[in-house]
């Protein structure tokens, strides 16, 4: 009987629950915070509100906010991982073995990388796109609202899987890209790698769907008159990034599937022996992984383009150059993946080719930087917090970029590869390029979504903490790399003299943590004092693009009248035009919007269950959840219409109320 029961649950047994104090602590903390949030929602009787107004919503602005919330919570989770790594490396020297066991340390950095890329950077990116893109295009919605909701919930399902590994089983200890043969069953027999595979697989399919969705949105839903060459630069960047998603993410899907087949069915794709080829995995994963870097960074570039133009009160300099630069980057990003493994011994010709291609990417990137600088030229620059993030970005990104060009020379890379120099390089690029951009975007578009601005003073403090903390945390890593310190070390010998630098890096990490705390405080303080910073004009920054032409917070239908566009920086042009033309009274029309639905949540729940069961080999339940997903999909597609109509009179009433509300304040 017990045997049968054990079989029902696959390889899931009581042993799967944590037994060492730090993991238990982490698990208790996570479960505790989760229960606390649940309790609060229950206490304030907000479940119905959450479900009806948020979880089932197909409004991209709400989905965007949910992406942001998840990503920021994950930023804290990944940040705690980072602090643990810093603590370990600052203490684990010589006779001391630090606070973590080596296996636990390896799980921590694997989780840190996975979470930061997939659930923080991707989350912030898709969050911003959801918030801003339809508004910038003058559209009421995205092309496929249901797909959008489903993609978000798949992202959540993947996120839950990563975090679940804290208290049921273990996470992968094979690094964030899980190179075989280490990640094969032979060397990693536990469930860790399977957690990694399935959380990425599920979230990755969500990203792929989002990619299709936003690409079609840009091509088919622009406001009348907005030709491609009149789009805001952010929209161009998103178009570039989504093109990359469409071509890169299927490779990730295939690669993860093959690795899982190796682990569960005993195929020989990447095994050592049996006719497998581990080098193929490394090629495949980077054929996705390098474009992924640009998937994250292009939208952030787009944010900077908007920010620098708005706060310099000038049109973006070199619009056409910028567009060409984006497409050069998109194309080139598929021709450089091998620079992640020059040390695999591919031969001089191959290495040199990929090295040169890598350097060529620096050209369009450099062009973008000069265009941003010349947007400031003869401007009238207002140094609001988003602009500070931009300045910080230029400083750090240029330095990191130079380190990158150095590493693009294969023989030089032989000395940098897999050292802390490399770690410092890619953190410089991704933190300054992606995170700073997303933070600038949050500050910039926050009033459009919530109707009030964020506190500037706290924002600036947070920025300086990030900047100083970053320099303190990562300059020592550049130096450590030159001292021969490799990445992912849970212990090193005292005679190497590395400890002081690791301690400095730890201090830097703490200052960054302070910055994050200030950012959280900024949200709270700004919310409490929201009456002081309310935006009644809809245009708090003297903006240039269409999102600022609608009131703040933007109504759920975005625009009462779909704007007509004749130039780039359409809203700026509208503001320059004489008043009487703008004031022409237009009649209101019915607005068709999608109905809320919970099917996306259910399908993602099914996907989560499926992933969990595959991890633990509970195949009967996996089959059931797959069946459930199919049934849900069939039901969803069986109805012809999922639309609701907001009548013209209703729109009129809402608009009138807004106008009155605006006057009252």
């Amino acid at each position: 009987m017990i045997g049968a029961f054990a079989n029902i649950l696959g390889r899931l047994t009581l042993n799967a629950f944590p037994h060492d104090p730090i993991t238990i602590g982490g698990a208790v903390f996570m479960v505790g915070s989760f229960l606390a949030v649940m309790g609060m929602v229950t206490y304030f009787k907000r479940w119905k509100w959450l479900w009806k107004d948020w979880f089932t919503s197909l409004d991209p602005k709400k989905i965007g906010v949910m992406y942001m919330v998840v990503a920021l919570v994950m930023l804290v989770r990944g940040g705690i991982d980072a602090l643990m790594m810093r603590a370990q490396q600052a203490t684990s020297v010589g006779a001391s073995h630090g606070i973590l066991s080596s296996n636990h340390f390896q799980q921590v950095f694997s989780a840190h990388g996975t979470i930061m890329i997939f659930f923080v950077a991707m989350g912030l990116m898709f969050g911003l796109i959801n918030l801003v893109l339809p508004l910038q295009l003058g559209a009421r919605d995205v092309a496929f609202p249901f797909l959008n909701s489903m993609a978000f919930w798949l992202f959540v399902a993947g996120m839950i899987l990563v975090n679940l590994s804290l208290f049921i089983g273990e996470f992968s200890a094979a690094g964030w890209l899980a190179y075989p043969p280490l990640s094969e069953l032979h060397y990693s027999p536990g469930v860790g790698v399977d957690y990694w595979i399935w959380s990425l697989q599920i979230a990755g399919i969500g990203s792929l769907l989002s990619g299709i969705n936003f690409l079609v949105t840009i091509f088919k839903m622009r406001a009348p008159g907005m030709t491609l060459m009149k789009m805001p630069m952010f929209a161009w960047s998103v178009l570039g990034a989504m093109t990359l998603v469409i071509f890169a993410f299927p490779i990730l899907t295939a690669t993860l599937a093959l690795l899982f087949l190796d682990r569960i069915l005993g195929t020989h794709f990447f095994t050592a022996g049996g006719g497998g080829n581990a080098m193929m995995y490394v090629n495949l994963i980077w054929a996705w992984g390098h474009p992924e870097v640009y998937i994250l960074i292009l939208p952030a570039f787009g944010v900077f383009s908007e920010v620098v133009a708005t706060f310099s009160r000038k049109m973006l300099f070199g619009y056409k150059s910028m567009v060409w630069a984006i497409w050069a980057i998109v194309f080139l990003s598929f021709t450089v993946w091998l620079h992640h493994f020059f040390t695999m011994g591919a031969g001089a010709d191959v290495n040199a080719f990929f090295g040169i291609m890598t350097m060529i990417i620096a050209i369009p990137t450099g062009v973008k930087i000069f265009n941003w600088l010349f947007t400031m030229y003869r401007g009238n620059i207002h140094f609001a917090t988003p602009m500070l993030w931009f300045l910080g970005f230029i400083v750090l990104f240029t330095i990191g970029g130079v380190a990158g060009v150095l590493m693009a020379v294969p023989p030089a890379d032989f000395q940098f590869h897999n050292s802390l120099f490399l770690v410092a390089h890619f953190h410089t690029m991704i933190v300054s390029g992606v995170l700073f951009g997303d933070f600038a975007g949050i500050m910039y578009w926050f009033p459009k979504v919530f109707g009030f601005r964020l506190n500037e003073r706290l924002g600036k403090y947070a920025f300086f903490c990030w900047l100083v903390g970053f320099i303190l945390a990562f300059v020592p890593l550049y130096i450590l790399g030159l001292m021969g310190a490799t990445r992912r070390l849970d212990h090193y010998s005292a005679s190497l003299g590395w400890q002081p630098l690791f301690i400095v890096a730890g201090v830097g990490a703490l200052i960054i943590a302070l910055g994050v705390a200030l950012q959280i405080l900024q949200f709270i303080v700004s919310f409490v004092l929201r009456d002081n910073t309310r935006d009644n004009t809809g245009d708090p920054w003297n903006g240039r693009t269409l999102e600022w032409s609608t009131p703040s917070p933007a109504p759920f239908y975005n625009f009462a009248h779909i704007p007509e566009v004749s130039t780039k920086d359409a809203f700026w042009a509208m503001k320059q035009r004489p008043k009487n033309e703008k004031d022409k009274e237009l009649p209101y029309h019915d607005i068709v919007l999608p109905q809320n639905t919970g099917v996306g949540v259910y399908i993602a729940a099914g996907a989560f269950l499926f992933g969990f069961c595959m991890i633990w080999h509970i195949f009967w339940l996996a089959a059931l959840s797959l069946l459930g997903i199919i049934i849900l999909a069939v039901i969803r597609t069986s109805r012809d219409s999922h639309e609701q109509v907001v009548s013209a009179s209703m729109v009129e009433r809402i608009e009138a109320e807004r106008l009155r509300g605006g006057e009252a304040v």
Partner: protein
């Protein structure tokens, strides 16, 4: 006034930090920047060349950034008259910053192409001295060095004569590792079922740290070794010492080494079985060479109670296993 005090204070702090850093760097050892061999030297030259070339971009970017930020700030009384909101492109200047970086990259590309060939790790080094071959096997989590000409082997320690080019032939009988002696030159991966090659030479006497630069499991962090460059006489003496070891390296003793171990003591082996290295590479490529016993040992070592599937079963079930 207050602002002035604030800025001078920040300036002082920065200066103090920089001075401390300079003093610290001065007295610490930076192996990549202090190479002890030809390959390392050439790689360092490349790094310096690239860095200097990059200054051509960095300096203007920083100058423009801070100048523009200062001159065109809102608070500047003269910013208003300088303000030109319609200035949104200029073919001439845009051409400049398409072309200048392109020119830099062109220069760097030529250097890249040449250096990639010149410093190709597979390329033998020109030297009057006769090249020496050392076979390297990355194990879990130790380094085994086999001297095929001397028929000896050494664990976690490798020695070679000064000014003699060394041809390291590298494989792994464990997950992927990366073989790296920073003071002598860059790294290359060690992969099961494959061999890679790295040519290095030491121009100085001394002991250099060697690392595995790629994660290979639990004990990877301390998977270090010492590479010693000695006089030719010193090397011959060392070989003689190794030959006196009672430990011998045969297929059988080698298979025992495949058990994961975090023992980092140096072990010497006299009398290494001929062709051992090639056999360990080939066993991943051809069925039947994988010895069942050793595989079984490793499986019991690694497999937790929750999992009993393993790849060894597929090897065993294959026909032709007995050969």
């Amino acid at each position: 006034m207050n602002k002035k005090v604030k800025f001078s204070f920040i300036g002082l702090v920065c200066l103090a930090v920089l001075l401390t850093a300079a003093w610290y760097l001065h007295r610490t050892n930076l192996p990549v920047l202090e190479p002890k061999g030809q390959v390392g030297h050439q790689e360092l030259d490349l790094i310096i060349f690239g860095s200097v070339l990059s200054l051509v971009v960095i300096v203007p970017v920083f100058m423009l950034l801070f100048t523009f930020a200062w001159r065109y700030r809102e608070g500047n009384p003269r910013a208003k008259e300088r303000y030109r909101p319609e200035l949104d492109h200029s073919i001439a200047t845009e051409t400049i910053w398409w072309l200048i970086p392109s020119a830099l990259i062109l220069v760097l590309s030529i250097v890249t192409w040449n250096s990639s060939h010149q410093l190709d790790p597979y390329r033998p080094l020109a030297s009057s001295a006769k090249q020496m071959n050392i076979q390297v096997i990355a194990l879990d989590w130790r380094w085994l060095f086999i001297y095929p000409e001397q028929h000896v082997a050494s664990m976690n320690f490798v020695q070679f004569p000064q000014n003699t080019p060394v041809d390291f032939t590298i494989t792994s009988d464990a997950p992927m590792n990366s073989f790296w002696i920073p003071q002598l030159g860059g790294q290359i991966y060690a992969m099961p079922g494959m061999t890679t090659q790295l040519h290095l030479i030491a121009s100085h006497l001394g002991e250099f740290n060697g690392y595995s630069a790629n994660i290979s499991g639990k004990g990877f962090a301390d998977m270090t070794f010492v590479a010693k460059s000695s006089t030719p006489g010193g090397f011959n003496n060392w070989v003689r010492t190794v030959r006196q070891s009672h430990q011998k390296l045969s297929e059988e003793t080698y298979n025992k080494l495949l058990q994961p171990s975090e023992d980092h003591s140096v072990i010497y082996y006299s009398n290494v079985q001929n062709g051992l290295f090639d056999a360990e590479v080939m066993k991943y490529m051809v069925p039947g060479l994988m010895t069942g016993t050793d595989n079984q040992l490793r499986i019991t070592q690694r497999t937790s109670a929750s999992s009993h599937q393993s790849h060894s079963s597929t090897y065993k079930s294959m026909p032709g296993m007995s050969t």
